[in-house]
């Protein structure tokens, strides 16, 4: 590591820092001539070694021993987290001990500091905008994170692709049209949720971890539906309608985003739970079952977050109705699109010659979706005052 000062370029910042620490002119060159690497010198400068100590060490040799002040910072020490449930392993729930388990109502640090660590005296603003627990938090996100990891599946190998058998052309196209729509909706939701991650501060770490599993789940749903569309003699159909999705993308806040997504998330969960009605083969039944399991975790979070939010900010209860009004109206527009409703009706009837029966069954399915949606809202303590008229018609039919 020996270097000559004549061949080593010394960065200006190193010289500036040395000057600010009282290093006499030429001391860096002396250190290099004594065989110290530029890196060692830089570490001494970054470690705040002043000119007197530097001179002493260079007189006596050896590397400047640090003062490991970080060993003595007053964080909570002596933590031995243990798995409460050996089958689940050491979970993030097990880390919610002492001060490390304190999730603050308001997080004030604007840096990326890990919750529970000792803050630097000064740090740059990392640009987070969400600092209120009420906006994002639900206690269930802590256990749901590990459950999501435990229950993950792989579309490439956990579905029996070799079991697919040819379907009548119209049925296959109906499956493919539905897959095209569902794949796009999953991908879009994953992309938009991903875009919100940088807004959420470290105070709500566990929530961000859980959202990461949701994003990963949505990626899997997007590719699974695409695979199904391309695996059995069909192809991708018409892209999804854009009314509802645009509303999602237009959200100006996380609160609005979650209220807007609540509508579709609930409806899709019910659709997947009803997968046996539209599945044409065992692979699709299993696909819907697995997607419903993923969606249920997300719905549990959605419900608990909204309930917690309304409890903490009752003055914003009516505001949620506005977002729901808008989202319901746009979703209904999408539902009325022939490329959305007709494939479902055809799959429910099993034949394009029985579309009347298919539409009758679709109305039943929609009624089930709307009922479940209202029940999910009820769990959040929202009673829908002005349910969209078309959804109300579906319910009344």
């Amino acid at each position: 590591m020996s270097q000559s000062s004549t061949t080593t370029e010394i960065p200006q910042e190193a010289r500036d820092r040395a000057r600010s620490l009282g290093w006499e002119e030429g001391l860096i060159e002396i250190a290099i001539e004594q065989g110290h690497s530029l890196q060692e010198i830089w570490q001494a400068l970054r470690g705040g070694v002043d000119g007197v100590r530097a001179r002493q060490f260079l007189s006596g040799g050896g590397f400047v021993r640090p003062d490991p002040w970080w060993m003595k910072v007053p964080t909570e020490w002596g933590i031995r987290a243990r798995a409460a449930d050996p089958a689940l392993g050491l979970s993030i729930q097990d880390l919610m001990v002492g001060t490390y388990g304190d999730v603050p109502d308001v997080w004030t640090n604007r840096t990326e500091i890990a919750r529970g660590s000792f803050p630097a005296t000064v740090g740059e603003d990392m640009g987070y905008t969400i600092f209120d627990k009420a906006i994002v938090w639900a206690d269930c996100c802590v256990p749901l994170y590990e459950i999501a990891i435990r229950d993950r599946w792989i579309s490439a190998t956990d579905l029996d692709w070799a079991s697919l058998e040819p379907l009548p052309a119209e049925q296959e196209k109906a499956v493919c049209q539905l897959m095209t729509e569902l794949s796009e909706r999953a991908y879009l939701e994953g992309a938009i949720l991903s875009g919100w991650l940088p807004a959420i501060s470290y105070g709500y770490l566990e929530l961000k971890l859980f959202l990461s599993t949701v994003i990963y789940d949505l990626a899997r749903h997007a590719e699974t539906f695409r695979k199904r569309a391309l695996a059995n003699g069909g192809g991708l159909g018409l892209q999804a309608p854009t009314d509802y999705s645009r509303t999602v993308a237009e959200s100006r806040s996380f609160v609005e985003l979650m209220a807007t997504l609540f509508v579709q998330d609930s409806m899709l969960l019910t659709l997947y739970e009803s997968g046996d009605l539209i599945a044409q083969n065992p692979l699709e039944r299993e696909m819907y079952r697995l997607c419903a399991r993923d969606r249920q975790r997300y719905m549990d979070y959605q419900v608990e977050r909204m309930k917690h939010f309304l409890f903490k900010t009752p003055e914003r209860r009516e505001e949620q109705q506005l977002y729901l009004n808008r989202a319901e109206a746009k979703l209904v527009r999408d539902w009325n699109d022939p490329a959305v409703s007709e494939p479902l009706a055809l799959l429910l009837a099993g034949d394009s010659r029985r579309m009347d029966e298919g539409h009758r069954r679709l109305r039943e399915l929609r009624k089930h979706q709307v009922s479940a949606y209202l029940a999910n809202l009820q769990r959040t303590t929202i009673t829908r005052k002005t349910l969209n008229g078309r959804l109300q018609d579906i319910l009344n039919a």
């Binding site: 270097q3 080593t8 200006q12 910042e13 890196q39 590397f63 640090p66 490991p68 970080w70 060993m71 910072v73 964080t75 909570e76 933590i79 987290a81 050491l90 529970g116 660590s117 000792f118 630097a120 740090g123 640009g127 994170y145 435990r150 490439a156 190998t157 796009e184 991908y187 994953g190 992309a191 875009g195 991650l197 940088p198 470290y202 770490l205 971890l209 990461s212 590719e223 695979k227 391309l230 695996a231 003699g233 069909g234 192809g235 991708l236 018409l238 892209q239 999804a240 854009t242 645009r246 993308a249 009325n336 022939p338 394009s352 579309m355 109305r363 929609r366 959804l391 018609d393 039919a397």
Partner: protein
Amino acid sequence: MAASSTSTPALDLSWLNLYDDATSATPGKKGMTLKEINLGRYADSARGPGDSTYRLRGAIARANAQRFGPNYQSKADVWSENCLMLYDEATQRQWSSARDIPWDTLEPLSDEIERAMCQLCTMLTEVEFIAGDVPGQWMPFVSAQDFEAGLFLMSQIMDEARHTDVFRKRALANGGGLLAQGSGLGLRTLIEARDFTEMSVLMHVQAEGFVQSMFRMGELIGQTEADKRIFRMSAQDESRHLAFGVMHLKYVLDTEPERREEIHHYLDKAEGDASGGGSGDVTFPPVFESLCILLGGGVDRFDEGVQKFLLLRKRQINEYVHRLAVAGLGDRRERLGPLMAQFLEPAS
């Protein structure tokens, strides 16, 4: 479109007549992977012009589709030739920090060693937190025409969540705790990037490359089997992120060679002729000191630790330069700032 919700609407069925070419992907040795469905007019090689919607590649465009705001229109802006394979590998190699780490092998360590390990974990859980935000920031700008790159980024978000949690778990599992926040770790440069390729070269190639080189010395850093396993498993994930970045850079340089100087400029800034640590800076004193204590085996063997740290730094820099050369940026070695250049081995 205004059909009553309670009556049967007039049939349209036009969606049944949009295409006639039947596609039947068949599963390969690794099942039905993205590679198996990358065929015909659905393949990335058949990518048409993008649009500003979330229409996935191969789906038929709606005439009335609304735009969703700007996203990258050129494939080169986000693409990496290995992103299909890397996404599939990510799905196959997911692991659980709760169950795949032998937490029961943790054993009491001397106070100084435990504190050094906890300090390192404090820094790493902080770094990994940002590493999840950064790809998230870019997801809305990745065109759905290149959705496999988006899928990969979503898998990376999951990986980084796991890394964030595993290092926090380690800090809180063996009688320790979190210690001093990292500061000046160079993480702002990652979130400040205004272009996907800038982000990728800084995060995937540089920052994750440095972290990867460190994780691969985990056998020396880790004091218990659990520690070593954490580094091994995390390194496996980092390899994918790094591979994406290297191949993305290669794709850009192959297809848009006019961007070479622009990319050098990003690296000039990030490597800095100043701090020289690069993104994910391990020269931050608490990180440097804790690494030296762990590598040396104690505070009283700090000097030995410094020598191993210098080897680590040397390894980081040379592997970094090698990766850039693989991507087609071999001339980077002539432009490294002095704090990095000091570790450079002669070109072979």
